[in-house]
């Protein structure tokens, strides 16, 4: 059972300077699952991904990926582990100076000694998996936002990683691309035997494809459960989030003095 | 840009750069007269070297035969010890004279060698015994005035 766990985060806290971002997070992702981390903008979801990727180190607690504690790994160990991870950045983060082909081939060329025709076959396979084999010779500037993200996905899975992290994969996509991307995440997870960690605030789209959801708010996990449990959840925060209500536990107004006082009404006229 | 075209341009750039360096080295400048492997050093002592500087040319019959390698003050004899680095191709008799000369009225100072008649040649680390100091303009004027004054005195 324990072997089944790929990512394990225990009591992790992190802050930028004096501003705490995460305060005591516990999270588990099992192999073959699509796990979503949801929360409003700026609640530390992306920070969580950077912690799992080892780009930043937690101030407290442990992050374990495939049984290895990231805090104890040296640089070489971290880089070895990262070869087994893929990450899809919010806007793809394709290398803009090289073609789609070279982007997908990047890791293969950096980390393997494969001959060029084998690399070619692998690249075409990965691009085929995301439906963009025809775009192989385009430059990143010639792609639409959705296509760029799919190419980035092909690049992320180039070395057949065991874990793929998605940073806001649904942000800024039209409804068709949205569906395509969602299905792709689910299908790749199932066919390639990956584990997917999806950071998103798109509730409707992600609830269709995920196995398990964590809700993060103000640096702590406020709710967790399967997609159905979340939909049925009675927690006010989750309810507001899932149904997209303007006001609730998360107020519409940024904390401010009383409106009347701010406008100079009241005392002056009294 | 195609990879090979790019390589070609960089290759051209490097060749042009090296050509420019060669142009500077061969056409614009000259190699430091002599390097230590094919040269020998002799020392000459002067009471006054005037404005002689290290790397000043050493000429004989107007031809550059070496350079001043080092200038030192000898605290025992209170003289300037000037090391000359001469080209091995040129050998000078032991009784050669070294004089500090000025090119033109205000030009740079150099050392002129005048060959003697000895059959024994100068070797490495030898000393040139006969030297002639730099002409210092102030002394020259002083002497001239002194001479004039003496001329006038008896009358």
């Amino acid at each position: 059972m324990r072997n089944d766990v790929l990512v394990e985060i225990e009591d992790v806290a992190f802050g930028y300077g004096a501003r705490p971002v995460l305060k005591g997070i516990n999270l588990t992702a099992r192999r073959g699952q699509v796990v979503a981390i949801m929360g409003s903008s700026g609640c530390g979801k992306t920070t969580l991904l950077r912690l799992i990727g080892g780009q930043i180190r937690p101030g407290q607690g442990t992050v374990r990926v495939a049984g290895e504690s990231l805090g104890e790994l040296d640089r070489a160990g971290l880089y070895r582990l990262r070869r087994k991870m893929g990450m899809l950045f919010q806007f793809g983060a394709l290398f803009t100076d090289i073609s789609v082909f070279d982007n997908v081939a990047f890791q293969l060329r950096e980390h393997t000694d494969l001959p060029e025709d084998a690399i070619r076959d692998l690249v075409l396979m990965k691009l085929h998996a995301v439906g963009l084999r025809g775009a192989v010779h385009l430059m990143p500037s010639e792609l639409s936002g959705g296509m760029a993200r799919r190419v980035a996905l092909a690049r992320a899975i180039a070395l057949d990683p065991m874990l793929v992290m998605y940073d806001e994969p649904f942000a800024g996509l039209d409804p068709i691309s949205l569906g395509v991307t969602g299905n792709l995440i689910r299908r790749l997870t199932d066919t390639l035997g990956l584990t997917s960690l999806v950071v998103t605030h798109d509730v409707q789209e992600s609830l269709k494809i995920v196995d398990y959801v964590y809700f993060v708010s103000e640096g702590v996990i406020v709710a967790e459960g399967t997609a159905d449990e979340i939909r049925a959840s009675g927690l006010p925060y989750v309810h507001q989030f899932v149904h997209g209500e303007a006001d609730g536990p998360v107020p519409f107004h940024y904390p401010a003095p009383a409106y009347a006082a701010d406008l100079g009404l009241g005392a002056a006229h009294a | 840009m195609n990879r090979t075209v790019l390589d070609l341009w960089v290759g051209l750039f490097v060749i042009a750069g090296i050509a420019a360096l060669l142009f500077l080295a061969l056409k614009v400048g000259s190699m430091s007269a002599v390097n230590s492997s094919d040269s020998y050093e002799v020392v000459a002592r002067f009471d006054n070297i005037g404005g002689l500087k290290p790397r000043a040319p050493v000429k004989s019959a107007g031809v550059v035969v070496g350079r001043v390698a080092d200038i030192r003050f000898d605290n025992e004899t209170y003289e300037a010890a000037v090391t000359l680095r001469l080209d091995k191709r040129y050998a000078f008799p032991k009784d050669t004279t070294a004089a500090i000369m000025t090119s033109g009225l205000l030009g740079e100072q150099y050392i002129g060698l005048e060959a003697g008649g000895d059959s024994v040649k100068l070797k490495d680390k030898d000393r040139i015994l006969i030297t002639q100091d730099a002409v210092v303009l102030e002394n020259l004027i002083g002497q001239f005035l002194y001479g004039k004054a003496q001329e006038g005195a008896p009358q």
Binding site: Q55, L94, F106, E110, H111 | L6, G17, L21, A25, R55
Partner: protein, 262 residues
């Protein structure tokens, strides 16, 4: 009010020291991770195209004009002393010792340095550097080091080309246009310009400038805030800082190199 000002000053000083420390660490990391730049020399060659070859036009044209101006001005001045033949010396020495390395470095800073900063800054802003790190490829080794070495190698070539072009410009104006004797132009030049003292020192200067400019440009790009203003500010800082660094370093190096000779 005064307290605020002192506080600001203190803050900026601390920030400045912090940045210098980070820059030094960055420079060391670049040197330490230079293996890739040499093992896969294609990466460095590619960057030499962008920083070296693309700077050629501006370097060659400026060199020609600077040399031509030197020829004109030098002739005017030397003529009053009746020593026009020394024009070759004047043009060659001022180019090889000072103007070649310094002006080429200033042009390089504004042409290639700013491009490097903008490129690295944008790569950072669009998360390309993070992506590379997540793909277990060290951006310092893969992106920074090849650009560093390309700049360091290109700089002396550019300076030499600038000087050569300038001497040619001086020759055009002095000999072809004004009519200074061609033989004495070249021979006086040759007898006065020494390979070690003048040309080699000029090359050493340009290598030092290359190190300074590329380090500043790469650091500013790497350290740029990932926003549009951040990158544009960093690009400006690259040009300003590296130009000042070139001039200051030039003074120090000149004091070192030409102390012994007239």
């Amino acid at each position: 009010m005064l307290k605020q000002a002192i506080e600001n000053l203190g803050n900026r000083t601390v920030q400045g020291v912090w940045r210098i420390g980070f820059a030094a660490r960055f420079f060391l990391a670049t040197l330490l991770h230079s293996g890739t730049a040499f093992r896969r020399f294609g990466l460095t060659i590619r960057e030499m195209y962008f920083s070296g070859v693309l700077s050629l036009i501006i370097i060659l044209v400026s060199g020609l004009f600077v040399g031509m101006v030197l020829g004109l001005q030098g002739y005017e001045t030397l003529q009053t002393y009746g020593s026009e033949e020394a024009l070759g010396i004047l043009v060659a020495l001022s180019l090889v010792r000072e103007l070649g390395p310094v002006v080429a470095a200033l042009l390089f800073a504004s042409r290639a340095g700013s491009a490097i900063t903008a490129e690295i800054g944008l790569m950072k802003a669009t998360e390309q550097l993070s992506a590379m790190e997540m793909m277990a490829v060290d951006p310092i080794a893969r992106v920074v080091a090849p650009r560093f070495w390309a700049g360091v190698v290109s700089m002396p070539f550019l300076a030499a080309l600038f000087s050569a072009m300038g001497i040619f410009g001086g020759y055009l104006v002095g000999v072809q246009l004004i009519g200074v004797d061609e033989g004495s132009f070249w021979s006086q030049m040759q007898s006065a310009v020494d390979f070690e003292q003048d040309i080699l020192n000029g090359v050493i200067k340009s290598v030092v400038f290359g190190v300074a400019i590329t380090t500043i440009a790469l650091f500013e790009g790497y350290d740029a805030p990932p926003t549009a203003e951040g990158v544009s500010g960093a690009t400006t800082r690259t040009v300003v800082t590296s130009s000042l660094a070139v001039l200051a370093l030039d003074f120090v190096l000149t004091a070192f190199m030409f102390r012994g000779i007239n």
